[in-house]
Symmetry: C2
Subunit: 157 residues, 2 copies
């Protein structure tokens, strides 16, 4: 996984299983949502940072590709790449893996926006947060652009 | 809403609220996932249909745009448009509305695939399912292509 950031680990629980006996599509997304929470901790937007700066992150847009089924009890990990950023946005790609066999289960490309909580509008990242984002971005500069990005949905004929 | 199909209704419950006091991104997706379940019922892939044909639907890919916050206790509705289909795929767009003020809360474009459960591979829809899909598609022919489709994620400079 090289410099991909291991950001979240979890075990698949019964509440997340659908009538097909697999992890329901929405709960792959919950794992990615929890990974985004962990990414917020990583860049200093944990509960203390949110209170200090009055900022939080909103998900503007998310794309998800489902690659393999996942079952009750399996351990999974989310690795994250920061592919781009500007003064108020993070463009990230989360990868969900099953470490037991190395299978890539799903990929989610997302755009996150820094929001001033009281005003409810987009604002520039606070300085210490911006600094941590810069460090993360630099640490991943050698990584190739991940797959399953810039995807358009449609039936080709 | 004209010929958009009202497919699912729900009330936002406490378990779905995040530290921002709003519906967590993953639970918008759960509402869309439940809407897909209801769409399966609509086209004859309810539990009885799945057992009869040995088929189910998998989500291959989903894109979601977040447009407005949603809070505890609010009533929401999902309206669905079948924008394209072939012999084994459905290209759909779910719209999440708050009927109290008509606010569009989120839009999700998705590609769903018909799967033979035992073989675990993509197969043509069963005849009666194909017929219902055709009826739904024809009933929505007059609708324009919905917004928030064919989206590519990226920071433009």
């Amino acid at each position: 996984m090289n410099n991909l950031l291991l950001i979240h680990q979890a075990r698949i629980v019964e509440d997340w299983i659908d009538y097909n006996g697999h992890l329901r599509d929405a709960f792959y997304f919950l794992l990615f949502s929890q990974a985004t929470d962990a990414l917020m901790d990583h860049i200093g937007l944990d509960a203390a940072g949110r209170a200090q700066h009055g900022h939080t992150l909103y998900t503007l847009e998310a794309h998800i590709n489902y690659l393999s089924e996942t079952r009750l009890g399996e351990q999974v990990q989310v690795f994250t790449q920061l592919v781009d950023h500007d003064i108020k946005r993070l463009h990230i790609v989360h990868h969900l893996y099953r470490p037991a066999d190395g299978q890539l289960l799903a990929v989610s490309e997302q755009m996150l926006m820094n929001i001033a909580i009281e005003a409810g509008r987009a604002v520039r990242f606070a300085n210490p947060v911006e600094e941590r984002i810069g460090h993360l971005f630099e640490s991943q500069q050698s990584l190739p652009r991940p797959g399953y990005c810039a995807r358009v949905i449609g039936i080709r004929r």
